[in-house]
Structure formats: C-alpha cells, structure tokens
C-alpha cells in the first residue's frame, strides 16, 4: 500500500486537514487583536487590507479604554464576583458531592437527580423571576446580586463534576483511616480531599470560567457603571448610539478575555478533562 511507503506525506496530509478548523477557531481572535492595535485612520480606510497592520501598531485604543472608560472598575467587579461565587460554589459543591457519592441517607437518590436537573436548567429560563427575587433581597443593581445568584448554576455544576471524582477514590482508603480511629470528617479532609485535588482544581477552573463568562444575569441584575462586569461593560457601555468605536470595542474584548486565557494556558489539561467528565464518564 502506498500509505505505508509514504509516512511523511500522509502525516502532512493529516495536518492539512486540520488547517481549515484551526483558521476557523483562531481567525476571530487574530482579527480582534489586530483591530485593537490599528490606528483609526487605517481602521476606517475601506481600501486598506483588513488582514494586516500597515500604519504601525498603536496602543491608543487600550489607553483610552483603561483611562477614559470604567473598564478597570468593571474588571474589578468581575474579579470580585467571580472569586466569591467560585469559592462559595466549590465549597458547597464539594460537600454535596461527597455526600452524594459516598454517604447513604434518606433522600440521596432524589437529591442527586435534582442536582442534575438543576445543572441543565438554563439561566435564560430563570432570569425574569430571579430579577424580582434580587429586588426583594434589596440587591437590585448591585454586584452582590451576582455573587448570590451565580452559585445557582455553579453549585450543581461543581457537584456533578466532583461526584465523578469522588467515585474514583477507592472506598477502602477511607475505611482504613476510619478503622484507625479517624472520624469521617477527618478522613474526608486528610485522605479523600488530597486524592481528589485534580477534581477540585478542575471545579475551581470551570466555576471561575463560567462565572467570568456569565452574561444574562449580569446584564439583567446590574446596570450602573459602578456595578457591571467586564462583559456587560464592554458590550453596553462602549456602544453609544450608532457610532461604534471598533478599536476600543476590540481592545475591551481582548482585555476582558485575558484572565481566562492566562488560566487556560496554564491548566489546559484540566479544561480538557473537565469538558469530557460530564459527558463521557
């Protein structure tokens, strides 16, 4: 067969098959970054080649974004909301997942199903009544509304993800510790949790990413410039009337993605394993 005589050629052919997918996946980011670095004159020149920068890269859009808009406040809000919601959700999710995966008690089955159903309830189904609840809690137009509501989708997610991890820890390890006199809580803290660290990292990363990316709650529950998150700020505050400042918009989109990209670069394998955990396990 020719296939076996020409290993290098087939290998190159395989990679060529991937090129359209890579272009499709990456081009929007390239174009976004490029636009954010162009001068306005080149940006709005309809005869210029849109794929390249001719008139030197400029940071003016970034400067304007950082100093003339509320972008730093929005980013700070995003960070605050994300860190708090993630912490609360991972803690609640961890103990709930441990109970569901390990303990036998009244109602464990229905509760497991309930968590799963909640995990699938889309945020766009609940944002209208939740807006009312947020109002009653006195949190309307406040980033605290997001800290309170984000766990509604993060806790089911973390619980679901971690249940899978806890099941992979052999029961015997824990039982050994308890035979040696440790209480169940001690066994959990000193034996089970250290073994489940990869799962915990995964849960933290996903909770962080999901709440950083959340949009519909942030858009609905907050509106004043001091309370909104980065996604909402960039998509609503930078668009005024019919004139769009494309350079600034793209700079905002790039900078708003930076925290996630940093995490992503360092923890790629966790993202891959977390992504497949829900579906394949």
């Amino acid at each position: 067969m020719t296939v076996k005589r020409r290993p290098l050629l087939t290998k190159i052919a395989r990679h060529l098959g991937l090129v359209p997918f890579l272009v499709f996946a990456l081009f929007p980011f390239y174009h976004m970054a490029l636009t954010s670095l162009k001068t306005d004159r080149e940006l709005y020149d309809r005869h210029a080649v849109p794929l390249l920068i001719r008139e030197g890269p400029t940071l003016e859009h970034y400067q304007k974004l950082l100093w003339d808009t509320g972008f730093l406040i929005w980013t700070k809000n995003s960070l605050l909301v994300t860190v708090l919601a993630t912490t609360v959700s991972v803690v609640l999710g961890t103990i709930a997942a441990y109970a569901l995966a390990r303990l036998r008690f009244f109602g464990v089955g229905p509760f497991g199903t309930g968590i799963f159903v909640t995990y699938l309830v889309p945020t766009s189904l609940l944002f209208l009544p939740l807006a009312q609840v947020v109002h009653w809690l006195g949190l309307a137009d406040s980033k605290w509304a997001l800290v309170v509501t984000y766990p509604t989708f993060l806790v089911p997610f973390c619980t679901w993800l971690l249940m899978g991890y806890f099941r992979t820890v052999p029961k015997e390890v824990e039982e050994c510790a308890m035979v040696d006199g440790a209480t169940r809580l001690q066994a959990l803290l000193r034996i089970v949790l250290p073994i489940a660290v990869p799962g915990l990292v995964c849960a933290v990363l996903f909770a962080f990413t999901l709440s950083w990316n959340e949009f519909i709650y942030a858009l609905t529950f907050t509106s004043s410039s001091d309370e909104i998150t980065a996604s909402v700020g960039v998509t609503s505050e930078l668009i005024r009337g019919d004139i769009y400042f494309w350079g600034g918009l793209m700079a905002g989109a790039v900078l708003g993605s930076v925290p996630i990209v940093i995490l992503y670069v360092f923890f790629l394998d966790y993202y891959v394993s977390g992504l497949t955990a829900g579906a394949v396990k």
């Binding site: 309830v121 609940l126 009544p129 949009f215 993202y271």
Partner: protein
C-alpha cells in the same frame, strides 16, 4: 488540633463533642452536607421557577399589581408574529447548529485522533473559542460581519467567492440566521470535538485490529466499529448541546438583537425584550417557559442514560 496524629481507641465523651459525633453517622452527615446546596436550589431555582409559572399565568407588568389570567399568555402569544417567528427560529437555529456541530465535531475529532505534531498546541487552539467569554468573542464576530468593513466579505471578494459588495450579513433575513448559526457552531464545536475525541480514545484497539483482520477498510471500520461504539457519547453530547443551543442568549443578543424584523430572535432574547424592555413580565415569563418542554424532554432522555451509568 492534632494534625497528623490519629487518635486510637474510644473518644472520651465530652459535652461539646456531641454534634461532631452525630456527624460521624451517614444518616446525619449526609443531610448536613447537602443542606446548603438544597437551600440554595430551593430558594434561588425552585422558588423563582414557581414564580415564573405564576408570572406566566398573570398579566404582570413592571410596577403594577397583577391578576391571574390562566393560560391566556401562552395561547395569546401565538397571535404575535414576533413569537411565531421566534418559535420557528428556535428550531431552525438549534437544528442547524447542532447538526453542523455534530458533523464538524466528528470530523475534527477523527483528525485529532491521529498522530500529530504539536498535539497539545493544536488541541489548545481548537478548544479556545469555548473558554473565551461568549459576549466578548461575539463582539469580534459582529465586527467581522460589519456591513461596511466586513472582513468576511473582503476575503470572499479577494478569493472571488462573492460578487461585490457581498451580503449584508446582519441586515438581511437569511444571512443573519446564517451568521448566528456560524457563531454558535464556532463556539460549540470544541465541546463536540473534545468529547467525541475522548470517546474515540476509549474504543479498544483490538476491535479495529479484529475488523482489519476480517478485511474491513477504513470506511467499513468507521461504520461498524467507531460509530456503534460512540453512540452513547454522541447521544449525550447532542442532548446537552440541544439544551444549551435552544436556550442560547448571548450570541443573538450581541450580534443581531433578534433582528432584522425578528428573524433571529430566540426564546431567551424575545423573553428579555418583552419581559424587561417592554415591561410585560407575564408575557416574557410565558415566552421563557416555552423552553421548558424541551428541557424536560432532554432531562428525561438524559436520565435514562445517566441513571444507567451512575446509579
């Protein structure tokens, strides 16, 4: 705290320790551990859901007392052109997006499942659209589809694929739907590709070797080994994706706001427009609730699979 050293023998009973002792029993520890999550879900998911049901059956309007009107909202919506259009859009959008993601995801997974140079980098690049905040990356697409400076059209013209000036992507009915589907496929493809890839990797090699020994070519092996083995993974991926695509909000909200003339509205975006921007909470809630039957259907199908695997 006695860190590291584990006490042996009976614990000396002290009054303050009673609670901790109780927690050593599964019957008490279990409920104690799930209570916080249960409270959260009851107060902020189940309760709002019941509120949504009530809103949907009332003539609630922002800042006005409401009355119970039964199912009139659900029925009355069918007289609105915007709603009928949205209903149709939701199925077109979901059907086209999920089908494309499935076919392309399968292709991509098969390509990634080969020996490659820079495997990690390629995998990372393929996954990237899925982690970036959707609202922000959709802004990038909005600019790419811009009516005056569309880089999509510029490229199409340069390659001779389009007639000048090229389509006005977000301003014309069918092109706008094409655009929102494209962005959804772009964002959702990594989930399909990576999950299917994980499914591919777990297929035992012996099956392929046996098929090859029986004289099966690559196509026959795909049909008789790969596809049947992947069926559970594919079913779950499609079900998950159906819910998330059907209830999508971000892409349409940023890219088209439901326009032109409601041709890209989905339930979530229409619900927001009617419920918040026009203040008719009752009708908005009813529109949101049209997501519910699909959710139930998928949950039911999922539980059949998941239960078999987990419980």
């Amino acid at each position: 705290m006695a860190v590291g050293s584990v006490r042996v023998g009976p614990v000396v009973p002290r009054p303050g320790l009673r609670v901790w002792e109780l927690l050593d029993h599964e019957r008490f520890l279990g409920p104690a551990f799930v209570t916080p999550a249960l409270l959260l879900i009851t107060l902020l998911v189940a309760y709002p859901f019941c509120m949504a049901l009530y809103f949907a059956m009332s003539n609630a309007f922002i800042g006005r007392p409401s009355h119970f009107i039964g199912l009139r909202n659900f029925v009355g919506l069918w007289e609105s052109d915007a709603f009928r259009q949205t209903f149709q859009n939701a199925f077109v959008f979901t059907g086209a997006s999920v089908a494309l993601k499935l076919v392309l995801g399968m292709t991509l997974a098969l390509l990634l499942n080969q020996q490659l140079w820079f495997k990690r980098m390629i995998r990372g690049a393929v996954l990237l659209p899925w982690v970036i905040p959707t609202a922000l990356s959709t802004l990038g697409w909005w600019w790419m589809f811009n009516s005056l400076y569309s880089v999509v059209n510029w490229t199409g013209l340069a390659l001779g694929l389009m007639d000048p000036p090229g389509p006005n992507w977000l301003g014309q009915k069918y092109y706008a739907m094409t655009a929102v589907v494209t962005v959804n496929v772009w964002r959702g493809l990594p989930f399909f590709a990576i999950t299917i890839l994980a499914g591919l990797v777990s297929i035992p090699r012996e099956l392929y070797e046996a098929a090859e020994a029986d004289g099966a070519g690559p196509v026959a092996r795909f049909w008789h080994v790969t596809l049947p083995m992947l069926k559970p993974v594919l079913a779950i991926v499609v079900l998950f994706s159906t819910i998330f695509t059907f209830s999508d909000f971000n892409i349409v909200y940023v890219l088209t706001h439901g326009g032109p003339i409601n041709s890209t509205h989905l339930f979530a975006t229409l619900a927001r427009q009617v419920g918040l921007e026009s203040g008719q909470i009752g009708q908005g809630a009813a529109i949101s609730l049209y997501l519910f039957p699909v959710l139930m259907l998928v949950v039911w199908a999922q539980l059949k699979f998941v239960r078999r695997q987990v419980y």
